[in-house]
Symmetry: C2
Subunit: 875 residues, 2 copies
């Protein structure tokens, strides 16, 4: 220990809580800072001083206690509260009742009664013994128990008890209990300082994400007793509803208690503050006991919200009806409440709109967009999987898409349960209210499609066994749910529940609508939607997207009538036969595009040319193949041979995307014609024309684009000539392979835009199929092998670097190049921020994530600012 | 046309062929340059002058003919030969016999006879008319035919013919035929100059890879007639055998002809030069007609080779036994001959060893390493595919690996024909002499394995139909080869032949061995081999590799006894069961490594830990699964369930490589233990210890390596302690994912080497599976979408850039980081050159490509030099 005399206290070692500017969180801790601000705002905070981190560290090293200002009244008791730099780091509990001495105890007895005063004295002695000397409190408790006996406590017995405790203290510690407020204070302050420095506390801080060396300040404050005649006690209050954010009194009051916060593990008790909501509690509400106190507290909470720029929960003490505020923390709030609170604060001028936008976590908007299970409802959880698509849904369990469609036709809600889904389940998923799969990851077919549809989904629920023969679902502990049972899936938490718990409906209006208006005004990053159907497009437009960033054309061919023609096209032996089948598909495709273009008037629509391997369109089992063959009047062997020929070892890395376009040019030519004819038809009488953007998938080399561009330009010229109208369209490339990213400079010479398909780009950068990753991704993330699932949050270090390289090289060759991201990451706030940083023009995401992306884009614009993008561009 | 008088001829516009240094290829063309050099070397080149490109261009623009020096004898005829910058660009034919005039014809008649002289005159008139005036030669031919009639030509008739031709010339052109050598010369020179400049000639030049504007020089040279009494005529000679490169006279002599090179399409005739080799030719050889001439020619050819530093083919004219040399080109030579020629030249001091190394195309060494079909043998080609593994093999056609093994047991050679091969065919391929598959690309299982085995292979022979039920192979035109037929595959050309054509045996000794010694002395890039078995390792060592760069461990588990244990391991339910199975595998693996280490003493051996998805080891059809289940005494359902569970949508991107190592640590721990125990056992008594390098496959993140490294280091410490010996090993990473390349800086902190698995890296960079690419890769390369198959020649622009990024980042963090390439590209000379440029330490390739890589590495070292690597490192 250092010699005590050489310590020189700094000017801010001890600062009064009434000196707001002088009390700083980084010097005195966050609690001291909060109390100083509340004091300045005029709230009745008991007077006190803040001791700096340095000061406390000196105490731990054996330095002297600094000199403190005199108490406002000589007989006021004191308390000592910890004030760490960050409240989340934990720390010692506050010590109350400091200053009770043999000399002063009579005055305290006179003020609050002998029994009560002696109770506080006893508590002080035992706490001091524990904290300063490490004496086990059980000895004191046993002593009190012996002397007091059963029944109500009597003044004399209480006196005898404290006297006995003082003797026991002296025996245990070989010292007399300090009979002086200053000595008591110094003893406890030093004990707190030493405790903060102990190895166990340091490890605990680190476990909570804080630094081992984090500072601890202390607050020496006059004590608001909470123990007095009249309405006295401790409580907490907030004036916003934690679920909705609407004005409403919420909190509790504990009559006769000194603390409103009990130790972890003990049950919080107390009475309600306001009339109206009681659950098995006989006591009157505080509003009935002391309406003035409640009124004052509401005022203080409002003052604090306005002054601090955030709704708060105040901790208070009532002493005979008089209010003291002893602490404040941000008000408890659910996701929905946070929106309402931020908007209300901004509308009251307490914060700016930008601040309001930054207050809301975009991911949490999900709660607004989908039905959720009521937080207070009982949950009968039967299994879990990945939370693949948010929201909750209840329905009768079906095991086939047909059953889901039949039930839907009769108005019955179903949950579709499948081992995994494929293109043949698309219509079943449209019909069901939710989907559960046993296999698959966050980007499996079921997960991606469900997010696109806004359909709650749990996937990869590998603990559950789907017994298709027994037509039942079996849990690991052998409980059984039969087909037809009513179940609920919670796609937000990834849970499967039996029955139908109470739900909360989605809510898109009010505060959220207002916040999103502000987001649109603030953001300079476009938010488009990935939508393949008119229905999806309508949802996207309703969610106020800026256009479609990805309209996949393959799903358009799964309608049974079209699928037949598509299969004829695939089974064609010659380009002529193929062209004949495509001629039948042309009007269907054109009609699709006309409908989507009509919905998206005035906006860009990016259409991706056919991408998946052709064998996805062929039947996969023998029966179906034979059926198809007989329907087409060809030998079954021919269908099987073609299917075998098209089968691939690694379909993700096979004959798909632009490779199809190069090998079978007729397909893309048909699609381009359908797009162009539809655009001319829709735009003919439109003031706000749609701008089609034709996108070539899975490119890896310049020449692929050049070849396809050449042919598409020829189709455009032909259509222009036939229709006698000028076409306005652009042509670009979907960057999904690492090579396309590296060669973006070349590609930019024949492209007007690059749109990053980050799902596939992630697969190829990692060498990891999203379909196969589900099996180990959870373990990988849990063990920290990957910090996050890269299919969920963009891998900035790998995939992101490829995007930066591509953006830089592309723009260097073609300064007008538009850059976008389409893929699951378009709805992920961190990924959106990265896109803004990389100077992208837009992100595109599932329709149901458009609101999230709009908010995330606004936050990115505010946070990154112009400088960021320029820094990236010149890097 | 420009006025003729203003042309000022440059000093080098007209230069004598005897002024070697003054005649330059880039000014006067390559033929002029060659003739000047031959003149200087003392060869009897007829005197003449070279006209520069500028001079010829002026002629085309209408400029004047420059003044030429006087002829050595006034009655010598002249010839005018083209001399383009590069002979490959084509150009006009030479015009001979210039200078025959009405005045001089008598002298020519006196010298060579009337009929002969008039023949030359007639040729001159007709050539001149065609070249200068574009007159169709048919008119002249018809005229001659009419006057001369059938039978031997008579002097007077010949005279009448030329007179009539002169009249016809005047009629057709309205001009008299120029009766002056200078006028004839100027007319033809200008015609040649104009011809060179014509659009059609320009396009032709470009088609041949030359520039449209390529220069043409002309040579005005005294004519060596070739038409004279005594032994006269034209011929060509080289004194190295075109097939072997050994000293041997080769060429032909055409008595009485003026040219030894006939026009395209006409058959070359003539007599042999030396005695001994005659094929249906009655005439005596030149050696018999005029031994002195042949002796002189041999001397000149030797002189030229020594002086020019390359074996040449001389074009010569004999005039009454006197030799004139009129041209020289590089001697014709096959791949084998080029090695012998280069080595002989270097040994004679005509060139340096470095020059000799650069003379041989490394790819051509393949001809030395494998049996080839004799170039002169008849070929009965039935179909074609990809030339997947070089060399030719003949055998009886079998359709199963079992049949191949049975036949091998009886000493019969077979060709294994399969739709495609899988791990179950490995032993069949070992037993067969060659393999043919109907499906698959250059890096399919069959192709890769065959190259590794040095087994000739043709893959992707998709024109052929394998009718397994009919047990036959059917060609597109319905010809049939039944199982058991004798066939030959030519893996160098990608052909399937019926029967057994004559073969040439491989030859690794002599000149090749000498050249490769020089290569080893010259190169500073290591050449290792990819070898999985003791047999492969022995081949690699015999081919003088510098160690093993890739020893795959998975093939070690396909032996039936081991496969059973491997399957038990895979079917294990608990880590304990798994460990029990692994304990059985441990001694087997250790024995494998001991054998390989013993063979590779004194060298590094890089062992890749288990890589493929586990389901590759499980049976794939129901019967086999049931068999396995009953053998193991478990329910068949369990095997099927596990197989289903392990099945993957995209196995290439699934649960393999380090992902297995992370999920099932026991496997890598067993392998590490086997490696370490084997190394200690082999090194215990060795002066030249083997250094095991443990390689982790399919990495994409730092933490994966850290986790595995941690466990392997623990195994190493345990083995060291148990054995009481110090272990020397290194641990590194196989870079196969783009992300691993981008994050190479991180990886280098926990790795001692990075080895680029360019097969997989190419797959992932392109998003293209090698197994699925076969279907369209040939079209892609043919249409120029990809300049080359990137699985064959490294894609420097994409994959190569990732390698450069990784090399730079890796070395920046860890300057001692070793860099290598393992994969098919290790045997590709262009890829080897790139690795040298990128500062790699070694490449690793199939054992049979080691000699190729050694030569390529030497060439890369010579060409790139030290500067290249430093430039790359500091870029």
């Amino acid at each position: 220990m250092k010699p005590q005399e050489i310590i020189q206290f700094a000017p801010d070692a001890v600062v009064g809580l009434d000196r707001d500017g002088a009390v700083r969180a980084e010097v005195h801790g966050s609690r001291a800072h909060m109390l100083a601000r509340l004091t300045t705002l005029g709230l009745p905070v008991p007077p006190g001083v803040a001791l700096s981190f340095d000061c406390v560290r000196h105490l731990a090293e054996g330095g002297p206690m600094p000199k403190l200002p005199p108490r406002s009244a000589p007989d006021r008791l004191l308390c000592l509260r910890p004030s760490p730099r960050d409240r989340a780091w934990g720390g010692p509990s506050a010590t109350l009742n400091i200053g009770i001495t043999a000399r002063d105890i009579a005055a305290v007895e006179a003020a609050i009664g002998v029994v009560e005063a002696r109770e506080l004295y006893a508590r002080l002695i035992s706490t001091y013994a524990l904290m300063v000397h490490g004496v086990d409190p059980e000895g004191f408790e046993a002593l009190a128990h012996r002397i007091l006996g059963p029944g109500p406590r009597q003044p004399e017995a209480m006196r005898a008890t404290t006297e006995a405790m003082l003797r026991l203290y002296a025996e245990e510690t070989d010292e007399e209990f300090p009979d002086d407020a200053a000595d008591q204070l110094e003893g406890i302050a030093r004990a707190m300082a030493l405790d903060w420095d102990r190895a166990s506390a340091r490890i605990l801080r680190q476990a909570k994400g804080g630094p081992a060396e984090g500072g601890l300040g202390l607050i020496v404050q006059e004590l608001a007793l909470g123990v007095a005649p009249g309405v006295s006690g401790a409580g907490h209050i907030q004036i916003v509803d934690p679920r909705t954010g609407a004005p409403s009194v919420d909190g509790a009051f504990l009559p006769g208690k000194q603390r409103a916060v009990t130790r972890p593990g003990s049950r919080r008790t107390g009475v309600l503050l306001a009339r109206g909501r009681r659950e098995g509690c006989d006591q009157p509400a505080l509003e009935e006991m002391c309406p003035e106190a409640l009124e004052a507290l509401r005022g203080y909470a409002g003052q604090a919200a306005q002054g601090l720029g955030d709704a708060v929960q105040l901790y208070f003490i009532l002493e005979n009806g008089a209010v003291s505020v002893v602490d404040a923390v941000p008000a408890r709030r659910g996701a929905r409440a946070s929106v309402r609170i931020a908007v209300d604060l901004a509308n009251r001028g307490a914060i700016t709109r930008e601040q309001a936008l930054l207050r809301v976590e975009p991911r949490n908007l999900i709660e607004h967009l989908h039905p959720q299970i009521d937080a207070s409802a009982a949950r009968d959880v039967w299994g879990g999987g990945l939370a693949a698509s948010p929201g909750a849904a209840t329905g009768y369990m079906v095991f086939t898409s047909e059953a889901a469609m039949q039930a839907a036709a009769q108005g019955e809600d179903t949950i579709l349960v499948r081992l995994e889904t494929g293109p043949e389940d698309v219509r079943g998923m449209h019909a069901a209210k939710g989907v559960l799969t046993i296999r698959g990851g966050m980007t499996s077919h079921a997960a991606v499609l469900a997010r696109g549809l806004g359909l709650p989904a749990v996937v990869g629920a590998s603990d559950l066994r789907l017994d298709l023969e027994g037509r039942r679902l079996v849990t690991p502990d052998a409980r059984v749910l039969h087909e037809g049972a009513l179940i609920t899936i919670d796609g937000t938490r990834g849970e499967v529940l039996a029955g139908a718990p109470r739900m909360v409906a989605p809510d898109l209006g009010g505060a959220l609508a207002e916040l999103l208006d502000w987001a649109d005004a603030a953001r300079d990053l476009g938010v488009r939607a990935n939508a393949d159907t008119p229905a999806d497009s309508r949802v996207a437009r309703d969610f106020r997207c800026d256009g479609l960033g990805l309209c996949r054309t393959e799903h358009m061919f799964f309608d049974p009538a079209r699928l037949t023609v598509m299969r004829e096209m695939i089974l064609a032996d010659t380009p002529e036969e193929r062209r004949a089948a495509l001629d039948l598909l042309l009007p269907m495709q054109r009609a699709d595009f006309e409908e989507i273009f009509s919905i998206m008037r005035g906006m860009p629509v990016t259409i991706r040319l056919l991408d998946p391997p052709l064998n996805e369109f062929l039947p996969h089992d023998e029966d179906e193949m034979e059926h198809l063959a007989s329907a087409m009047g060809i030998p079954a062997g021919q269908v099987k041979a073609r299917a075998r020929e098209l089968a691939e070892v690694n379909p993700m890395l096979g004959m798909r995307g632009v490779r199809l376009g190069v090998a079978l040019p007729e397909i893309y030519e048909m699609q381009a014609r359908a797009i162009f004819e539809a655009a001319i038809a829709v735009n003919r009488d439109a003031r706000d024309p749609v701008v089609p953007e034709v996108m070539i998938p899975l490119v890896s080399a310049y020449r692929e684009v050049e070849l396809v561009k050449h042919r598409i330009d020829a189709v455009a010229r032909a259509v222009e000539e036939e229709q006698g109208e000028k076409l306005d369209f652009s042509l670009g490339v979907m960057v999904e392979t690492p090579r396309a990213a590296l060669r973006a400079g070349d590609l930019a010479e024949v492209s007007e835009f690059l749109s990053f398909g980050t799902n596939d780009l992630t697969q190829m950068t990692y060498g990891l199929s999203r379909d196969d990753a589900g099996r180990f991704m959870r373990d990988y993330v849990r063990e920290g092998v990957f910090p996050e699932d890269p299919f969920h949050t963009l891998d900035i270090e790998g995939v992101g670097e490829l995007m930066l390289i591509a953006a830089r090289r592309g723009r260097a060759r073609n300064p007008n190049l538009k850059l976008g991201l389409c893929g699951e990451h378009g709805g992920d706030p961190a990924s959106v921020r990265f896109c803004r940083l990389a100077g992208f023009d837009y992100v595109s995401c599932s329709p149901f994530r458009v609101p999230i992306a709009r908010l995330a884009a606004a936050q990115a614009t505010i946070l990154v600012g112009k400088a960021g993008a320029e820094a990236v561009a010149s890097a």
